[in-house]
Structure formats: C-alpha cells, structure tokens
Amino acid sequence: MSTTSQKHRDFVGEPMGDKAVTALSGIGEILGKKLEQQGFDKAYVVLGQFLLLKKDTEMFTDWLKDASGANSRQAGTCAQCLKEWCDAFL
C-alpha cells in the first residue's frame, strides 16, 4: 500500500512546466534553497539531473543527499516522485 503525500500526487499528476524546485515531493524550503544555490532553481533542472543519471533512483538519491544535504527519506521521496513523473509524461 503506497502512502504518497498530497504534494507527490500534485506533482506527478501534471506536466511540471516551470514549477519551482520546492514543488518536488521531499524538497522543502531549506533543501530547495540549497539546490537553487547550485543552479537547480527549477524542477525541470533537477529532472535533467535525474535523466542524466539515467533515471536510476539510487544514484539520484545519493546525488541529492550530497548536493542538498537531504536525508534518505527525503531523497528517496524525491527520486520516487521524479520516477513516477517520468513514467507518466516522458
């Protein structure tokens, strides 16, 4: 039984367009700021990174933990969110 949050469902339910990076499930304000500082200021840029890592959720999780200081849960949530978005729209 998956327990996805509303944020997850909101993101995965439609094309991400120009949504901010904080729209990603698992990414809050603090993590969002850290990502923006590194140039990942929009959700699609993070998507770009996810795609560069060949949509490997484990790799992406590791990358996100390093890049933003996210913990395992947050990074895993974000990875799962992006993966499902890709499954739906890519």
Partner: protein, 187 residues
Amino acid sequence: MSSLRSKSAQDISDLLDEYGIKHGPVVDSTRSLYEKKLKEAMAKGKKGKPSPDKTYYREEEEEVTYEYRTPVRSDGAGDSGSYMRSRPEWSEREFEHKTSYSSYLRSKPEYRGKDFVDEPAMYDTPYAYRNSYLNSTPMKSQDAPKAPKSSRLIPLWVQFAFFLAVAVFLYLVFSSMETNESLKGIE
C-alpha cells in the same frame, strides 16, 4: 589511480564500467558523484554498487505477515475438537500477532469471520471462550522461542492455570466415560 579529479571523463567512465557501476554521462554535475562512487568501490575492493538505503522494507514486511494469515483464516478452527489442528496455525499467528501488533490494528482487514483477529486487544468478546482457550494452548508452546513480552492483557500464569483446569476437566470427563474397552487401551 589516486587522483580521480585529474582523470578525463572517459577514464572515469571506463573505471565505472570496470567496477560494474551503471552510470550515465560523466558531465560537470554528475562527475563528483561518480568520483565518490569510484572511491567507495575502490575502498571496498570489489565490483558492484554499495547497497542503497531501503526505507520501504518495514511496510513490506508487515504486509508479508499480513498476507500470510490468509490461508490460516480459511480453516474453520474454532471448536475445541479441532484445536489440535489449529494449534500450529495459532502459534504462528500469535507469534506474528505479537510482533506486528500495531500494524495489525492499523491494517484493518476484512476478516469478519474471526472476531478475535479483529480485536486483538479485547479477549472478552463473544468468542471469549474460544479465544482464551485457543490463546492459552499455543502460549505454552510459544514460551521457549519467544522472549517474554509483558504486553499481555491476561497474565501468563492465568493462561497456564486455565489451560490446566480445562485439561483436568477433560481428563475427568474422559475417565468417567464407561466403555466396553479398557480406558488405558491396554489389550
């Protein structure tokens, strides 16, 4: 080998392949990640990725025990006559029941047939007799493998006493029955 930074992207890519690490293009944003992975792989000295965090296992495990109960439920092991058959089922059930106590309460099943499953916290249901009777039987066999958990509603000694009382009662009933054959079954 010591300084990954000075290697070209192609070298990094080749090294990743050597260690069997699946990877994408080695570009600016992915390079540091791959360098880190290579460092870990080299430190381990073996091929393959380091195991990732699995945060979903807990729920999975709960689900597994949940599913396991399904075949147990379908048996009509309610009356005392068939308690021998239900005993091994119950012992496992109780075992899982104790370990996944809270999850069982949460995952409200459609096991309407067995009330004592729905309400593990209350043994004073209409099926109370059957509950505590069946409950007491496997408790005896459960005692050795399990660590004593003091989260019982009925204390263990009460269950033992009850079990003994019922056993004595049955013995008396049995011994007072008059049959043609001898009771002990001796020729």
